[in-house]
């Protein structure tokens, strides 16, 4: 690295860091401008492989992980690790997928790949029994606690109607790149859990969302910081009794994956996979009305891959 390069990087990352604090969405612009270019497709859908294989082909179709993860960046990978259940119960994101994503990020030269979730069950057991703690450590990533209010900082949600402020985990505030890795599953109150719903795991007080129009809050928070990439795990899909599930009988093997830079599009496509219309999921509709993303899949360039 020569001196000019060094100065350039220092200044840009300084501005990026500073502007992230003032204008949370600015970080995304800077991060994007540092990447190799825009992805080849709006959305890539894969079917028929293992979670890690499907990610390999999907991300390749998107132009490789380096499109999203600049060298030296700090990456937050946010899977769903909500429940103390084993991987086959599909209550959490598949560990093989999380592992593969962390590996990709590190191979692209990420400085640091952090993984956490604000779990619903006891976090130590949930991290362990979901298989995600081991997966992250094996891949060389860092799995950190989300279990204390001390980790969460107060932020404003600029476009929020019902949710105007929230306490957000510092790992998200510090991240240059944010990769959201939800699992697709049934949900007793939000109908389905996909990408936007998964973001409830980066805030401290989820209770507020529940008592102040859940769907509106989910969409509101999506305006705070859009993920740079959303990877929907639809390998095993819990089709009822969600979000925790009662037994493996709630799960079907769908062997699918959806990735997109547009999280509303990713949620819309995943909702279709689940067998429901995106417009019937109220928070997807609200997010679309707020112009946070494209819910109408006909308007997108979609690459469909069969393995």
């Amino acid at each position: 690295m020569d001196r000019r390069d060094f100065l350039k990087k220092t200044i840009t990352s300084g501005i990026a860091a500073g502007s992230t604090l003032v204008f949370p969405k600015m970080g995304r612009l800077w991060a994007a401008s540092q990447g190799a270019g825009t992805p080849a497709w709006d959305l890539v859908a894969v079917r028929g492989g293992e979670p890690d294989q499907m990610f390999d082909s999907a991300i390749a179709a998107m132009g490789g992980i380096q499109t999203f993860v600049p060298r030296g960046s700090k990456v937050l990978v946010k899977p769903n690790i909500g429940w103390d259940v084993p991987p086959e119960r599909a209550g959490n994101t598949h560990p093989a997928l999380v592992k593969r994503i962390v590996e990709h990020c590190l191979s692209a030269g990420a400085k640091d790949v952090t993984v956490f979730d604000h779990t619903c069950d006891n976090w130590v057991r949930t991290y362990r029994n979901s298989g995600i703690e081991k997966a992250v450590k094996d891949a060389g990533g860092r799995i950190i606690s989300g279990d204390s209010k001390g980790y969460y900082q107060q932020v404003d949600v600029p476009m929020g109607k019902r949710l105007t402020e929230a306490r957000v985990h510092q790992a998200l505030l510090e991240a240059d790149v944010f990769i959201n890795v939800p699992v697709l599953k049934h949900h007793s109150s939000s109908m389905v859990t996909i990408g936007m719903k998964n973001l409830m795991g980066v805030v401290w007080d989820r209770g507020y969302w529940h008592r102040n129009d859940l769907h509106q809050c989910i969409a509101d928070f999506a305006s705070f910081r859009a993920p740079d990439l959303t990877v929907v795990d639809a390998y095993n899909v819990m089709t009822r009794n969600g979000p925790r599930g009662v037994s493996v009988n709630d799960v079907v093997s769908m062997k699918a994956q959806v990735i997109s830079t547009d999280f509303v599009a990713a949620d819309a496509a995943a909702a279709k996979l689940f067998g429901t219309e995106p417009a019937d999921i109220r928070h997807i509709q609200i997010a679309s009305d707020m112009h946070l993303g494209q819910m109408n899949l006909a308007d997108l360039t979609i690459h469909r891959i069969r393995l």
């Binding site: 949900h187 007793s188 102040n212 859940l214």
Partner: protein
Amino acid sequence: MTIRHLRRLRIWIALVFFMLTLFLFLDFRDFGLRVIAGEVLYLQFVPSLLQFLDNATLGAAGFILVLMLTLVFGRVYCSFVCPLGIFQDLISRLARKRMANPGEKKRTSRFSGSRPHYFLWYAVLSLTVLLFFAGTGLMLNLLDPFSSFGRIVSHLFRPLVLGANNLGVPLLEQLGSHALYRVQWPVFVPAATGIALATLMVVGWLSARHGRLYCNTLCPVGALLGLFSKISMFRIRIAPDACDSCRQCQRVCKAGCIDLKEKTVDVRRCVACFNCLAACPGQGLAIQNHWRQPARQNPAKPGRRGFLIGLAAAGMGLGSSRVDAGPVNSADSSDPVDPVNSADSAVQTRPTTIPETRTGPISPPGSVSVARFSSLCTACHLCVSVCPSRILVPALLDYGLSGMLQPKMDFRSGHCNYDCKDCLEVCPTGAILPLSRENKQQVQVGVARFIKENCVVYTDNTNCGACSEHCPTKAVDMVHYLTLPDRDLLIPKVNPDICVGCGGCEYACPTKPYKAIYVDGNPVHRKAEKPVEKAVEQRIDTSEEFPF
């Protein structure tokens, strides 16, 4: 091995017992010592006695082993095993160093022989036994040395360790290490902390000034074991011919039980620390087998007496194994303040108006019934310390006065993890039985009750469903409620047959100040039905095309 080495042996064994016991209470990161909790705590006298009275098995016979050891070697329990006793030794050792440092005279004698306080001691023992016989274990709970130690560690030392950890986290993070993580505080119960502090102050002051005076005036276990050691086989004896009254032994005797004028050792007060044996410069002290001295005592008679005492004590205990739970302190148990969320600035649209009506406290799974739990628990708070969800908290008067400080399930800070059985595995008294995971998952400690008028769906016409999310059996399910122009609303419905009372719904319910769903305790635990499991009907064909 000469008898001088017995002191060193005692110190090592005591340190092992002490450190293991201490670590069981302090291990907030679950390093895995818990799997041998049963072995570590096997010899704890009162817990073992209570466990045996409830269910006489070899696994609960630790106290019999202690009695046998006492009959042979004297009060070795007090010096080798009892964590409060060993803790007092540590305190008096530290206090001696502090006092020696100022360098007043040369070496002031640390201890001296003292007169016994038998009246007080036996009064405490009698009162404890009588009250226990009468149906209240309050005295036992407050004076059992193991449980006192447990409360001191749980409520005074553990917060210090957690605080140090939480201070260390940002420091290490500055250095780029995430080896430590922040941990949440235990639920603060002023009475529990207060009693632990009072115990610490009494025990600490007595041990700093007078060695083992607590053990020989207030400890009912010490008093009982003293009766047994009176007839023990091996005893320390002063050899009148070899002893020149140099007082070395008296100076190190923390029980103050050596009388050099009469050249006798009061075996009832002797805690078998063996300090005197190591301190004697000559051959003035010896260990003698008293059962081989027909001239002094008839071996059969005292043995029988001891057996009868033991039998009587056990009999009294048996008669008292049923204690009725007292009335619930409603002000305490339905306290709606949520320590986690109350500080948040979020304001709910409309506060709820209908208070929850709880009929009784909720005892942990494995305790079978509130009455059984209350009669067996000594409030050592090991379960409170190990509960990873921090839902076991000391009750104030929920179990009645006699059950003061016994833990109850409280869902203000979390819910009982469906797969977890940590408290069942560590309970040394058997108040919480070690059920299998499958059995634990069918124990119904209470039942969820829904107050529709408090529910967000009813008051605000928006979806919530937080309760149903957390329900591990789907005893709380969301059912169709109302169709609005832009949305379908779902509202909770409880199936009491499969509810286990884990409190997930109550913990997650966001309404304030009163919850829309809460768990009411079952005085006698029931068996929940297993949730019905049918395989998913619609198989999704992976060869299918994309639906978009």
